[in-house]
């Protein structure tokens, strides 16, 4: 019965989304305010029902209720509990339910909390949210029902893809989804503002925490996904420019640009149309990503259950939502006035450069991702990889970093170069010194060399905004900016160092052999079979010593899962502050030898430390903004009370 409860909750939620849409459209017309009063309650109840439906699916997975087709296809009674839980979203139907639930919760939250904008704009925003949501309800209920029953009930489930049975991946999809779908709020706000012609700093202030929240989750999701691919796939790489990775990167790029342009709009009332467009683009990229991943239109290492019918459905949603929003933008953008003007050498000027560069990188990634699809239409098969993405992206990425270093030093509206001469020279000296130093000592390739120099320059520059200010009275959002920009430097340093100094060894080793890899001496002590709850493995015991120090033991495994049957390699990692030793045991070679693959990856962990720092910076800024909003709200209420009127 419980599965039917979930399904019923989902249908009612969909009906409420329909109500929200029609009440909203009605309410936006003259004299429709009574209908408009239905919009907020509909959104809130809808959120609760979706949460219920998702909770039901979780419960079905916890109980391994095999009479539900989705559970039987993706779970197994012998699976550890955490992977039973993560199995809920480790499949197409469950992850789409997660999508719809996150979207409904976000809509419910704005309906419940947000009262700063004119009510008409809020109604228009929630109507847009309902429109987008209704499409995804339709998709879920008509072509991807997660609660479908299976008759007869099988004796055992088919299990979850072993690559997905991993703690990192248990967390990766939900974080990424919250980010992806959280951007729908920015989309709805942008559409709402366009519909009611209310594009002003208030709109940006209301939208900003939502974008910030979604962006924090996207950052964490990307970081976790990259680390998961790094240690679980056993290939030793942390970014492959795979279409599905790009699908997650593109919304992040757009959201990063949106975050910065929303700041300009909120503080200076400039970049109105541009901010609106980015709001539309950011969520469009989320939906495009979902389309690419789910339709199977591109070949990717991420093998999702693909189905052309589903692809057609999502494409229709994409046309309706993105096409509709872009059309509205094209029609209405002319009525948005330009906003305040500013000179090129100003904080706004730097942020515009940053925005253009981010958008250009977004365009480059989008083109590279879709190019194989385009040429395939003309029967030419190509694959686009790092030789395109890295250097072409760098054309915009490197100048953007220079602006990132200098921009925060500039004043709003207009500034003089003489005023910031001192710090700029200091930053440049640090960058050039590192450039020269690394060039003469190591002589590495151009891109990592520039990356290292810019990492040093950005690291120093990120703390420059703290100069001459009282650290205790500095607003939290400024701290957030400092931490996030420093995180960019840390991540960049990790990427450059790993690219430049990685050392790889592939050997066929006998038990007792010692292999050298960079500063490491690794001895293969033994290879023995081990068994886990749903796998067996060959486990190698290696003792590794760094520069002749105390040896540490690591145990890479070659695992065989039996439900479903699949081989995975569990890399063993030895982490030091300055990098990681990455060891993979392969199959048996001739003569009792074992294929052993070793990488010494200097500073590679800094990539993910940087990612976490960036997200943490976002969190600081978000807390700062929310605290500021609360303070202002209570101050307003006090004023209202003193005047003897009711609080708004």
């Amino acid at each position: 019965m419980i599965a039917e409860l979930g399904l019923a909750a989902l249908w009612i939620a969909a009906a409420l989304a329909g109500l929200q849409l029609f009440a909203g459209i009605w309410g936006l017309r003259e004299g429709g305010s009574r209908m408009a009063s239905l919009v907020r309650p509909a959104a809130i109840v809808q959120a609760l029902l979706c949460a219920l439906a998702f909770g039901v699916l979780l419960l079905l997975f916890i109980r391994t209720d095999l009479s539900v087709a989705l559970v039987a296809k993706n779970s197994h009674s012998a699976k550890p509990m955490i992977f039973k839980l993560s199995g809920t979203w480790g499949n197409h139907e469950g992850s789409m339910l997660l999508w719809v639930s996150v979207m409904a919760l976000a809509g419910g939250l704005i309906a419940f909390l947000e009262r700063r904008l004119p009510e008409r704009t809020m109604i228009a925003t929630l109507t847009a949210q309902a429109f987008v949501g209704l499409g995804f309800y339709g998709f879920l209920l008509l072509s991807s029902n997660p609660f479908e029953r299976l008759s007869p009930t099988p004796a055992e489930g088919m299990g979850l893809n072993p690559l997905l049975q991993d703690v990192g991946l248990a967390m990766h999809p939900p974080t990424l989804y919250v980010g992806y779908v959280g951007l729908s709020v920015a989309f709805s706000f942008a559409v709402g503002a366009l519909l009611t012609r209310q594009v002003n700093p208030d709109f940006a202030k209301v939208m900003r925490p939502w974008v910030l929240g979604a962006w924090i989750f996207l950052t964490l999701g990307l970081t976790a996904g990259s680390y998961w691919a790094y240690y679980e796939l056993g290939w030793g790489g942390w970014w492959f420019w795979d279409p599905v990775e790009n699908a997650a990167l593109m919304p992040w790029l757009a959201a990063t640009a949106l975050l910065h342009s929303a700041s300009v709009l909120a503080s200076r009332d400039a970049l109105r149309a541009w901010t609106i467009m980015l709001g539309v683009i950011a969520f469009s990229m989320s939906m495009l990503g979902t389309f690419l991943v789910r339709s199977g239109i591109l070949t990717s290492v991420h093998a999702f259950a693909v189905d052309p019918e589903r692809g057609t459905f999502i494409l229709a949603l994409l046309v309706l939502n993105v096409g509709g929003a872009l059309l509205l933008f094209a029609l209405r953008a002319g009525t948005i006035s330009e906003g305040q003007r500013f000179s090129v050498l100003s904080r706004e000027g730097a942020l515009v450069v940053n925005n253009v560069a981010l958008s250009a990188i977004l365009g480059i990634v989008l083109l590279g991702t879709l190019y194989p699809l385009l040429t395939e239409a003309f029967d030419v098969k190509v694959s686009v990889g790092p030789p395109y993405f890295n250097p072409v992206g760098a054309i915009f990425f490197l100048p953007m970093l220079v602006v990132l270093a200098i921009g925060p030093l500039l004043r709003w509206r207009r500034d003089r170069f003489e005023r910031i001469q001192g710090p700029v020279v200091a930053i440049a000296v640090v960058g050039l010194a590192v450039l020269a130093g690394v060039f003469f000592i190591a002589g590495i390739a151009l891109l990592p060399l520039l990356g290292m120099a810019l990492a040093a320059a950005v690291a120093v520059a990120s703390f420059m905004p703290l100069r001459g200010r009282s650290l205790r009275r500095l607003p939290l959002p400024v701290w957030g900016m400092v931490v996030a920009h420093f995180g960019v430097a840390v991540a960049l340093f990790g990427m450059a160092a790993d690219t430049a100094f990685q050392q790889e060894r592939l050997v066929a080793a006998q038990v007792g052999d010692t292999v050298e890899d960079g500063p490491w001496r690794v001895t293969l002590n033994s290879v023995e079979p081990v068994a886990g709850p749903n796998w067996t493995a060959l486990e190698a015991t290696l003792s590794a010593s760094y520069k002749g120090g105390e040896p540490r033991v690591v145990r890479p495994q070659a695992r065989s899962f039996w439900t479903p049957p699949q081989e995975t390699s569990e890399a063993a990692l030895l982490t030091r502050w300055n990098g990681q030793l990455y060891a993979v045991i392969g199959g048996e070679a001739e003569g009792g030898r074992w294929q052993l693959r070793l990488w010494w990856k200097p500073f590679v962990t800094w990539i993910w430390y940087g990612g976490v720092l960036i997200a943490f910076g976002g969190l600081l800024a978000l807390i700062g903004r929310l605290a500021g909003d609360l303070r202002r709200r209570s101050a307003k209420e006090q004023i209202a009370v003193r005047r003897g009127t009711a609080a708004p």
């Binding site: 467009m277 494409l315 239409a377």
Partner: protein
């Protein structure tokens, strides 16, 4: 900047058109060999089982067109195609094989269970020959003409309907 907004819309429309077109196109998931029409690269594999000789590129250029089957004892579709390989052999095809990443005792057990239509079986422990002829998986079957030139590639297991196709290709290659 007015035109810019309409360009965005036009680009989006073009993109949607491309997506719609590609969704209707059948997806070719197979990786076809780039070696078709080329001479087979030189190799010399030791025998995979005691009762059949090994395989070298010289044997594939001895004037007689042959089928080259890439298989492994751990591959389920390889067992499924065994009856059709037997039918091909009965129809007069000379079939040679490369066993991929396999142990001799496993290959012997596999051939005992599913029949042995092969005149020669080479042992390819690191998939070197498989990769050099442009095969990306098991099973695959190639038609090699008498001069050692790869004429045709069949991907996946040989179904009943594929038998006549392979025989026709073999005849065309001069068998």
């Amino acid at each position: 900047m007015r035109w810019f907004r309409w360009i965005m819309l036009a680009l989006a429309a073009a993109l949607f058109g491309l997506f719609a077109y590609q969704l209707t196109q059948p997806k070719d998931e197979f990786v076809h060999s780039a070696m078709i029409g080329e001479t087979i690269p030189a190799f010399d594999l030791p025998p995979a089982v005691p009762d059949r000789p090994g395989l070298s590129s010289v044997h594939l250029a001895d004037g007689q067109a042959k089928l080259l089957n890439v298989f492994a004892s751990w591959c389920v579709p390889c067992a499924a195609e065994a009856p059709n390989l037997a039918r091909l052999e009965a129809a007069g095809a000379n079939i040679v094989a490369v066993a991929i990443r396999d142990r001799p005792e496993d290959v012997a057990r596999f051939l005992e269970a599913y029949g042995n239509p092969f005149s020669r079986i080479g042992k390819d422990d690191i998939s070197a020959v498989q990769l050099s002829i442009g095969s990306s998986g098991v099973p695959e079957t190639f038609v090699i003409d008498g001069a050692g030139i790869i004429r045709y590639q069949h991907l996946g297991d040989i179904r009943d309907s594929d038998v006549s196709v392979l025989l026709a290709e073999l005849r065309e290659a001069g068998a």
